[in-house]
């Protein structure tokens, strides 16, 4: 009888500890998932934006140069972008505008492309918008997006901050990851 009681007590102690360990394992798995997600997003944003900046100013779809001599790459504060284009970006962030030939509804057109962060269901995300078409969600979870234009080191410098969509246990904090993109347009014909 004593042996059974001892076995049950020991077994329950072990089970309680195992439950704790299992809990930690699942939290670590969530943390791992968040980091993987950040890695994918970092790769995606860097590749996509770099490529877009490289091709900014590509007016090959036009028979002649654009009528208005507009800058192929521009940066606006959220306030200025709202005044000029009606874009509702996060206050304190910037809006990147690139002009190039893009295919919209089976037709290639020389259009402005906007990149900016805005709120969608609680969190801030990075959006991509062609001219006045509806915005498209590009990267989920981005809390900072600052753009500066230089003629010195590079045409465009983008500093961004990715943020995990949900807080990570047990610290209950959002994981953030800084990023930077230096890129220059390779196209000169539109200038």
């Amino acid at each position: 009888m004593l042996e059974i009681i001892l076995a049950v007590v020991l077994a329950s102690m072990v089970v309680v500890n195992l439950f704790d360990v299992f809990n930690i394992v699942s939290r670590v798995a969530v943390h791992e998932h968040v980091l993987l997600d950040m890695q994918n997003k970092t790769q995606l944003i860097n590749r996509f934006l770099r490529k877009k900046i490289h091709t900014a100013g590509d007016s090959a779809c036009l028979n002649q140069l654009p009528e208005k001599k507009e800058n192929k790459i521009q940066a606006f504060s959220a306030h200025d972008a709202f005044q000029e284009f009606g874009i509702n970006a996060k206050a304190g962030s910037d809006v990147l505008l690139l002009r190039e030939c893009v295919k919209v509804q089976k037709k290639t057109q020389y259009l402005p492309l906007f990149f900016y962060i805005a709120k969608k269901s609680g969190a801030f995300d990075l959006f991509y918008q062609m001219s006045n078409h509806p915005r498209l969600l590009f990267i989920q979870g981005m809390s900072r997006f600052k753009v500066s234009l230089h003629s010195g080191l590079s045409d465009v410098v983008i500093r961004y901050q990715l943020q995990s969509i949900q807080p990570v246990l047990p610290i209950k904090k959002y994981i953030v990851q800084q990023g930077v993109i230096y890129a220059s347009s390779k196209i000169t014909i539109a200038d």
């Binding site: 042996e3 001892l6 076995a7 020991l10 077994a11 072990v14 500890n17 195992l18 360990v21 299992f22 930690i24 394992v25 670590v28 798995a29 943390h31 791992e32 980091l35 993987l36 950040m38 890695q39 970092t42 790769q43 860097n46 770099r50 010195g152 080191l153 590079s154 045409d155 990851q177 800084q178 990023g179 930077v180 993109i181 230096y182 890129a183 220059s184």
Partner: protein, 108 residues
């Protein structure tokens, strides 16, 4: 009694090894994230170097670039070596569990 203890010992060892495996995986994922950042930083530097080919400007670029490296990677140090045949070697080194590095040759 011995049967119960033996069974518990086996279950515990399985769960603990799962935990260690998961911890190791977390380190691998963290390490992969740092490697992605390093590759992006190397992309940034090649873009900047190709745009600016004066040596004074390149020193400024290297200093800006290294500031960014140290803010995004632990104990990161980067350098660029130019052999006179317009072939540059970019090296970016950082420390996470051990010294890690990425290197790339490009025309400069």
């Amino acid at each position: 009694m011995i049967d119960v203890l033996a069974a518990m010992a086996i279950v515990s060892s399985v769960i603990f090894s799962l935990l260690f495996y998961q911890m190791e995986q977390l380190q691998v994922v963290h390490s992969a994230l740092y490697r992605t950042i390093a590759i992006n930083q190397i992309d940034n530097l090649t873009d900047m170097i190709q745009r600016n080919n004066q040596s004074k400007k390149q020193r400024d670029i290297l200093s800006v670039w290294n500031n960014d490296n140290s803010s995004m990677l632990p104990q990161a140090v980067g350098e660029i070596l130019d052999d006179s045949s317009h072939k540059c070697l970019i090296t970016l080194q950082w420390f996470y569990l051990k010294i890690q590095a990425e290197q790339i040759y490009f025309r400069c």
